[in-house]
């Protein structure tokens, strides 16, 4: 599917999503519409986005943005899904039951950004050391006077 065809299809699936052009089509969605939309992307016979190749989060200070890079191994089209989250209480549904790779990636985002993934099967620290308390390292307001990262 080309980007134009993909755009038409996505507008059909979720009319309220804001689409952005670029190398890959970016669909901006809300936490409420997010999970059914992801299910459709994975299962719709003309999309079949079965390969989640990147899952990450960006801290924009006023809000957090979850970024999902999706690809289809049968049709070879790619797209990006973004969800805007509240910085004070970031919460989003897990996608680990749709794409198993999300389980590890979400655990990473959970500890580094403090995003709470609802209904995640095993949301625990993966990288951070024993007894970690306080802020999440990849947030922009994170300061560590002992182990300075900034140069």
């Amino acid at each position: 599917m080309t980007n134009e065809e993909l755009k038409i299809k996505l507008t059909e699936l979720l009319p309220e999503a804001i689409l952005e052009d670029g190398e890959w089509i970016t669909a901006n969605t809300t936490p409420a519409a997010f999970l059914p939309f992801m299910h459709q992307l994975r299962n719709d016979p003309s999309l079949l986005m079965d390969y989640l190749f990147c899952l990450t989060c960006i801290d924009f200070k006023t809000h957090l943005t979850m970024v999902y890079h999706l690809s289809s191994t049968s049709f070879r089209h790619n797209m990006v899904v973004k969800v805007k989250l509240d910085a004070a209480k970031p919460e989003v549904e897990t996608v680990s039951h749709i794409w198993r790779t999300a389980e590890f990636h979400e655990r990473e985002v959970y500890e580094l950004f403090g995003v709470n993934f609802l209904h995640h099967p095993d949301l625990r620290l993966l990288i951070l050391p024993d007894g970690w308390e306080g802020k999440n390292p990849l947030r922009k307001d994170f300061e560590d006077p002992i182990n300075m990262i900034k140069l």
């Binding site: 990636h105 990288i127 024993d130 990262i149």
Partner: protein, 377 residues
């Protein structure tokens, strides 16, 4: 990392007669500081739980305060066996933002270096994996070839492991005058010795018995777990970025994407063995056809990426590496994410190990080709 409270939890959830054991963080077969907590029933694996973070350097955070020229050097330390390819991915991502055209000479040099790195990486994997399974001799055979690649790298790049040779716009400096001759010598050496690999290991009946039907990974699981590289191709999943989304000059080169349908450890092993030969094919096509001209495009001293997001994908020796730069228009990246192949490939270990014997775990880990600094970043 592992929390003390989790030891008690793991023991509490373990059933009657179950045993919880630790492999690592200091274990020779994990090739780095990987920590696996394994729940066993007798000799059968019930659960494998990786605990990471022992070598986490927070490269992503570090890069946020480094300029677009500087951050590339840090990435050599991620997957240190594919240093060239990591640098290549980052340089390509910056070039995408700057919209810089890379001169043909630089493109060919980059692909040559990438493929030599791939061979060197697979050599080390082959030697180390055979050693994990108890065969010591292959390690020396593998290092004979690997050393000659490292010598070539040392002459041109000045380093044997963390090369830092690719820069935005091309490569740092021109090839060493001896480069072509030494690569040709290496090709001759390699072709003379390659049959030893099959005679020593591949055809060995003990080895085959330990690899076949061990760690079976079905194609749909490989896709769902985000596996890439030889791990996915061993399950018949076409995932070679060089073929699917060609970059540099890969679309002009003749090589095959290696696919095996065995889905087991032996299939993954065969993918890597055959991939080395494909890399040799690429090197042979290019070594006499390096175009003359500039090795670096002209770029400004201080690089500024326009506001936006840039993503590049390359094929490292372990699979798909993604570099995702979010720029706010400044001289440093606002956020950078490395989608490392090892992280996703590791997540499948629990799935393929369940129900098999503890003695086979090392064979499974060996064929996933885990590099811990790549997983921890």
């Amino acid at each position: 990392m592992y929390r003390e409270t989790e030891v008690i939890q793991d023991l509490a959830t373990a059933g009657e007669g179950d045993m919880v054991i630790n492999v690592g963080p200091q274990h020779p077969a994990t090739h780095g500081v990987l920590h696996l907590v394994i729940t066993l029933n007798g000799e059968t694996i019930k659960k494998v739980e990786p605990h990471l973070g022992y070598i986490h350097r927070s490269i992503e955070k570090m890069c946020e305060s480094l300029s677009y020229r500087q951050f590339i050097y840090v990435t050599s330390r991620m997957d240190y066996l594919s240093a060239h390819i990591n640098n290549h991915a980052c340089a390509m991502c910056v070039e995408k933002g700057l919209q810089v055209e890379v001169p043909p000479r630089a493109q060919v040099i980059r692909v040559l270096m990438d493929e030599l790195t791939r061979i060197a990486s697979h050599e080390l994997w082959w030697g180390a994996m055979a050693m994990d399974l108890g065969a010591f001799t292959p390690f020396f055979h593998a290092f004979r070839e690997r050393e000659s690649i490292n010598d070539i790298m040392e002459e041109t790049c000045g380093a044997r492991l963390t090369m830092n040779y690719m820069v935005p716009g091309g490569v740092m400096h021109d090839l060493h005058p001896n480069f072509q001759q030494r690569v040709k010598d290496f090709l001759q050496l390699y072709k003379r010795k390659i049959h030893e690999y099959d005679e020593l290991v591949t055809g060995n009946i003990i080895f085959q018995n330990r690899m076949k039907n061990i760690g079976v990974l079905k194609a749909e699981d490989a896709i769902s777990y985000g596996c890439s590289g030889p791990t996915a191709r061993g399950s018949g999943v076409s995932s070679d970025i060089r073929k699917l989304y060609p970059y540099e000059i890969y679309n002009k080169l003749e090589f095959d994407e290696v696919l095996e349908t065995g889905c087991d450890s032996f299939a993954r092993y065969m993918v890597r063995i055959r991939e080395m030969q494909q890399s040799i094919r690429i090197v042979e096509q290019l070594i006499d056809n390096i175009p003359e001209g500039d090795f670096q495009a002209k770029t400004k001293a201080v690089l500024k990426l326009p506001k936006g997001e840039f993503y590049t994908r390359v094929e490292t020796a372990r699979g798909e590496l993604g570099v995702y730069i979010v720029s706010e228009g400044g001289t440093t990246p606002y956020r950078i994410k490395f989608r490392s192949p090892g992280f996703s490939n590791l997540s499948v270990l629990d799935h393929i190990a369940r129900g098999s014997k503890i003695g086979d775990l090392v064979a499974m880990m060996g064929t996933l080709d885990l590099v811990i600094p790549d997983i921890d970043r």
